[in-house]
Amino acid sequence: MHGTYASEQPTDFQAATAAAAAAAAAAAASASVSSMRTTAEQRDMEREQNSNDPDEWSMSECGFGDSEVQRAIRGGSAAEDITQYPIHGWVDVTDEFHDACSELLPGELAQDMLFGLFEAMSAIEIMDPKMDVGMGFDKFDLPPPSFEAAVAMGAIKLDGLEPAELIGIFDALFACLVSWLEGNSMDQVIFTCLYLHAPSQIQDKALRVFCTAVRNLIVVIKNIIILAAVNEEEDFQLYGNSALLAAEKAQPSTIAGLLKEVEDELVRKCKQLTSTENQNLMAVVHRLRFMRHLFQAIYQVELMPGADSAEEAVNEIYKNLNVASELLPLIKRTIDRGTQPVEGSEAPNPMGFSPRIHDRSQPPTFPRSIKIRERPASYQFLEEMVARFKYACKVIRYKDYYSALNFFIEYSRKSGHCILSRSVLQSLFNSSILLAHGKQSMKQFLRHSVQAFNSPPVLNPKHPVANDPKVQQHLETFFRYCINMKTFNQFIRLCGFNRARQRDKLAHLIENFDPLQVDAARLDSLMNQMANDRAMEGNESHATALKHSTHFSTWVLYNCFRAMLIYLMSGFELELYAVHEFLYIYWYPYEFLIGFLVSALTRTENILLAQEEYAEHQSRIQVNGGNSGPGGKNRKAAKPKKNKKQQRPYRQEIVYYHALLSLCGGMYKAMGALTKDGRVRLPMSKFDNEEIRYNRRFAPFVPLTSPPPVSYAEFKNIRDHMMLNSVEELYSFAAKHFDQARNVLESIQNPEQEILDLLQIARTNFVVMNVLARGHQKELKRQPEFDFSKHSYFPIIKLK
């Protein structure tokens, strides 16, 4: 190819050089980058010789023919400065260029050798308002004023602000704060407020203190978010203009006092005023007070690890949040008393804001077009955020892993969108287990959690076996391993990430469960072995305590199954699955996963029951005066005799899983029926490979030994077997499952909203399946609509 290239050169090329180039090119064709460069150089030399002005050619041509140099330039080094161009002078090629482009085919690119997907994806689209900051700049515009300039021009007042002006600025600042928490850059929202650039130069006390509070609040919020570390770039911009922040030192501990002082002064002043003026000033006071309590609440979250008791600290936080939430309705009612943003202006308030001040100092690949929230919406956000914080405070009630994890999963579902709420929860939880368990908090917490989950006797400090040094040693090793693997902490922390990122991280988490499962199983079998040893020694009570131990592996497996189920179902929430994939996604939990969960929980309940009975039996024997008969060991014999008031701590969850099982079964069979009925759009077979898709969907489960991965072939067998039934039969099977789900869900007392929603889904789908089974719309092979609006895991099937 290179040879032909050289021979096709225009004839005014010197024949000799062309031949040389051809030879060099031929050598280069099979060689590496360095020889490619030689080719390029050769080519440049040709041109150089050909050109009237060799020096000029070498400067422009060699620079760009040479891939090494190109790489250096595009890598962003200062090797070449675009601003020094043009070197030769501009030649207008507008028409020529367009004509040349029109020769390209649709989809064809003319691209530089270093142009790739990265360059394509990172390019800013000029004149797109979301990406192009430079848009709308008029070259005759003045640069946006800085603080000093604005003061010099008299554009901003530093003293003697009217209450309306203060309300306007405060409301605008809250709006900026909210916009920042929604993921915008600090510079482009909060620091558009010029007052924040130099609070100490403000003479008006209320404004100065408020601005100082905002600046300290920024620092505190940043700390909480950094420590919680559940932020992603799309949630939150950590980096802002730290130079602006650093100018005045943060002293968060003084803020509450300062705010209180100003409030008191203003309240005193109020008393001497007429009622309308008074009301305006009170609106200012309310905002200062709201700021004080919000600030205190958030600041106390940061301080919590140093508190004496978690309960007390959280009580304090809760009190502040309560006052803050009581103030919000008052503030919302007085929004219109403040100065309002000018229509069509980007500034959130007429005075004190310079919206584009940082635009041109931002890195170009930055999110650019910023819309600061409107005031009512901002207060709405704050109101909801305060409510979320209050909800997060409840986390300290959950003192074991099982209930804490449930709380986190629930919290994420409800408050997953707000980065600060998520970070506050992490922070409160970590501090509370630190305060509850001291130095080795996580290990103690996990020990406590296993005990709370299925109370293995070896973890019961009152049980004599717990003092066995050998047992202790094994336990120590296991828990240390749990801590080192971090799997359990990770699961909780992971629930703090935004919903979309959780799925990705769950995949890794599931992988990490495998070594833990192995270790837990080893621990259990060691306990059983020791039970035999102790029995040989005649130590009956130790032997019984150690025997049949499946505590630890059950605990690990249960948590692993939950992660798997959340992973699989999160795909529905994130709308990752195509309709024709629903079948195997619902099949797996139906056939395996939920069954595993139910059996893990049932086993746990049975263990708990057996232990209770054994303990009672023992005490009865002691009362009866010895006679350690075989009844003590025989659990099953003892069971029916016992009273029915036995606690079944996991009953509710088991019932819930039964409902899920029926729903998954219903969906699985419904998808089977719809597919067989020709109502599911399938991908064109040319572009499709179901096995690959199946394997990708279940890829995170492959590294696990338990449950063993299910191969595509196995799935296919099971599905083919199901598909042998007629379409009508399949529809009625599905209907039966939905009916079962309905029965189970109806049996739940005091159902939560989620249960009611699931109930509605089960009922509706039951009807739809029956209708289809009876041959409704038999000729219309349209794909039904799958409406996930009621529940993120299960759709209502709608026939159009």
Binding site: M1, H2, T4, S7, E8, P10, A28, A29, M36, S51, N52, D53, S60, F64, G65, Q70, I73, E80, I82, T83, Y85, P86, H88, G89, W90, V91, D92, V93, T94, E96, F97, H98, D99, A100, C101, S102, L104, L105, G107, E108, L109, A110, Q111, D112, M113, L114, F115, E119, A120, S122, A123, I124, E125, I126, M127, G134, M135, G136, F137, P364
Partner: protein, 112 residues
Amino acid sequence: MNPPPPPPPSAPSASEPFRITTNAPQMLDANLTPGRRKLQKWLGRVLRIVITDGRVLVGFFNCTDRDANIVLSMCAEYLVEGQEPRLLGNVMVAKKHIVSLNIDEPRTSTIL
């Protein structure tokens, strides 16, 4: 400009569904149409684009397509030419925003 009759190799073949014209030395194609050859020559050179709102963008010409959407790398944005520019990195300019195009090259060079 008087373009010669449409070139024969324009139909995408099965083995080459997406054509690419590039200046990469190992992929040089001898049978380029004049327009493609021109584009190939300009790739990697410095291009100046005046856009509809009066701004001037100067950057290395990286990529274009049939619709004359242009990607520039290491682009500098001038509100007023001659004044301090702002460096933008990679930018994409759609055809509808292009007013004029200039390439940095010696006026005399009409070869290739």
